[in-house]
Symmetry: C2
Subunit: 370 residues, 2 copies
């Protein structure tokens, strides 16, 4: 299964809004064939693996199939994978995660079992979930999995008080950050960052088969039609201000203005997350300043942190996250570290909200009733 | 040599003020005998290795000796190791670091060469230096190697504004910190920490053959004779205030008051470091608040950082280091990361001042004139 999960990571930049899934076909410990899910509308992992077997002229009846997600049992843009599996007549299907998609939700596994196939689920579920937190979050709670990315000095500062921030981290760290943009469905920033830095927010310097949607939270619709992030691919501008003239000018630049409910004169962040979930967004990669980062944390809309730390001390300077003073350590925003690595001269640290993660994990693991 | 360096780490808590040194005796790739430097005044690594060989009844003439530091050539509390080596008649001596001690400084190696022994130096010098930065710093520049230890949230805060800091990091991280206390010669804090937290600052929860000296910078001599850090072993109180009465009261509690020059009404930190160097202190482990930490950084008296990071965000709270705002990123205090590890739920990050490290490294590597 670990081999299947590693293979599924090859489609990390590709399959959205579908999950990244891999399928291995094994007989007596020998790998016969494999496949990974393709672009949306194209073949899923199980079908790709069966094609691989068929191209080799192999009969896979009686083999074991390892799949990182429960095979689908419904007609979406492609026919149900369970049908393909049933015709291949495996002896055993091992699944990492059950699909919490209400259209699937154990029904795929039930059909396999009904056909006399031995089924095991929950094998390496946590590792498989790490490849698909966004899809599982959207299926489970209707909103995407949200990463906050930030680059700071070791003492937790992202810029000097005069705004100087280029560059705190190394070019290696900035290039590494491109991989995390590429795996997301949306790269989201705040209007403060757009006005201050005029970023492009596209994926560059690395190969990717698709660009994520770029989006900005711009409560008062202040973005200039000449902003660099409006070059190229379509952009979403989330605002509270209904201004059809400005929206029309932005539409000429491929930007879609989306008016959302306000909360304290700003875009209501939970409403934004609902909207993103409804628009098939699995993972959101936030590259914003301390104010938006802090607001997302306070609204409970931050699932994970991606922090690059440079070996510098800046002293009195701007914070990573603009959050109010606490009265008790028990009120701190609590995460758990999931990964750490050296990237050039810097460190990359990943952390996630433990409760949010456990909720997803529970949703993909076998329930007693199944 | 890597095996010798690993062995030398076994005396990390033991040899001060002497360096931690190991010696391996090898013939045709086979380890015959080994030794590590003992407590000050007891045998050095080379003598311990020869004793080991002799206890096994082995003749080591013609063997290769791996030593992590150049053998001494002077009478200190023990006779010169070079004499012991010469009588053992090795064919070859491989040395990681030359000893920058002006009493040695290549003279040990020169005597070995003069006796027809093949000598190589500078083998794994950087790894060997990491075991002895304090000894090499004291020999090279007359002052100890200074670690600043701090425990903070991922966003760089060591306490809430109301002072709450117990506990940001896990008990595993706090226990790990005891190893770093144990390897130091002095555990140093500021009077602010003593007044606020009344810490003991001794090594506990782990086994150690000796306790470091505990010390406090107390410019106005405010420490109470009932402070917990005065329990037990002798303590150094560094001050600018000559107050024989108070000093006498503290002496009854085993505390020695040392009056040092003032700088802006505080203990002049470079003068403190000189004093520590003159008193055979190799490594200083600082556990202090942001003010003393910041002052040490600004005075150029911080060689390395030992930072425990907890997976928490505290927002608006106290900083790791109290440093003034900068005008340019180029003025940032620049370090290089040397190590990172998971410790319980937390991360441990080590960083060092690159220039200071390179100066020590240059001092232990072969010079063209040798």
């Amino acid at each position: 299964m670990r081999q299947a999960i590693a293979l599924s990571r090859e489609s990390l930049f590709l399959t959205t809004p579908n999950p990244r899934v891999a399928c291995l076909i094994v007989r007596e410990g020998k790998l016969l064939a494999s496949g990974v899910t393709q672009r949306a509308g194209q073949a899923h992992a199980e079908v790709m693996a069966l094609r691989d077997a068929s191209q080799q002229g192999l009969d896979v009846a009686g083999a074991t199939f390892y799949v990182t997600l429960e095979p689908c049992n419904h007609h979406g843009r492609t026919p149900p994978c369970v049908d393909a599996l049933l015709s291949a007549r495996p002896a055993r299907v091992v699944v990492a995660m059950q699909d919490p998609n209400p259209l699937v939700a154990g029904k795929g596994l039930a059909r396999l079992r009904a056909a006399g196939i031995q089924v095991e689920t929950g094998v390496c579920a946590e590792e498989a979930l790490a490849v698909n937190p966004g899809f599982i979050a959207r299926m489970t709670r209707g909103t995407p999995w949200v990463w906050l990315k930030t680059a700071a000095s070791l003492d937790g500062h992202t810029a000097l008080h005069n705004g100087a921030s280029k560059w705190i981290t190394s070019s290696a760290a900035r290039q590494d950050g491109q991989h995390w943009r590429a795996r997301s469905c949306v790269v989201l920033t705040g209007i403060g960052t757009v006005l201050a830095d005029d970023p492009q927010l596209n994926v560059r310097d690395i190969a990717t088969p698709r660009q994520p949607v770029r989006a900005v939270i711009d409560s008062q619709l202040r973005i200039s039609p000449t902003a660099r992030m409006l070059d190229g691919e379509p952009v979403w501008v989330f605002t509270t201000r209904n201004d059809p003239d400005k929206a029309a000018r932005l539409a000429e630049r491929n930007a879609q203005v989306i008016v959302l409910p306000a909360h304290n004169h700003r875009v209501h962040l939970p409403a934004l997350m609902q909207w993103l979930g409804q628009h098939d967004i699995n993972e959101v990669h936030v590259e914003a300043g301390p104010i938006l980062n802090g607001a997302l944390l306070q609204a409970g809309c931050a699932d994970a942190l991606l922090v690059y730390l440079a070996p510098l001390l800046l002293g009195d300077a701007r914070p990573m996250f603009d959050l109010p003073a606490l009265k008790s350590l028990g009120d701190a925003h609590a995460f758990e570290f999931t990964d750490m690595a050296r990237v050039g001269a810097d460190l990359r640290v990943c952390a996630q909200n433990k409760e949010n993660w456990q909720a997803l994990l529970a949703a993909v693991q076998p329930r007693p009733s199944v």
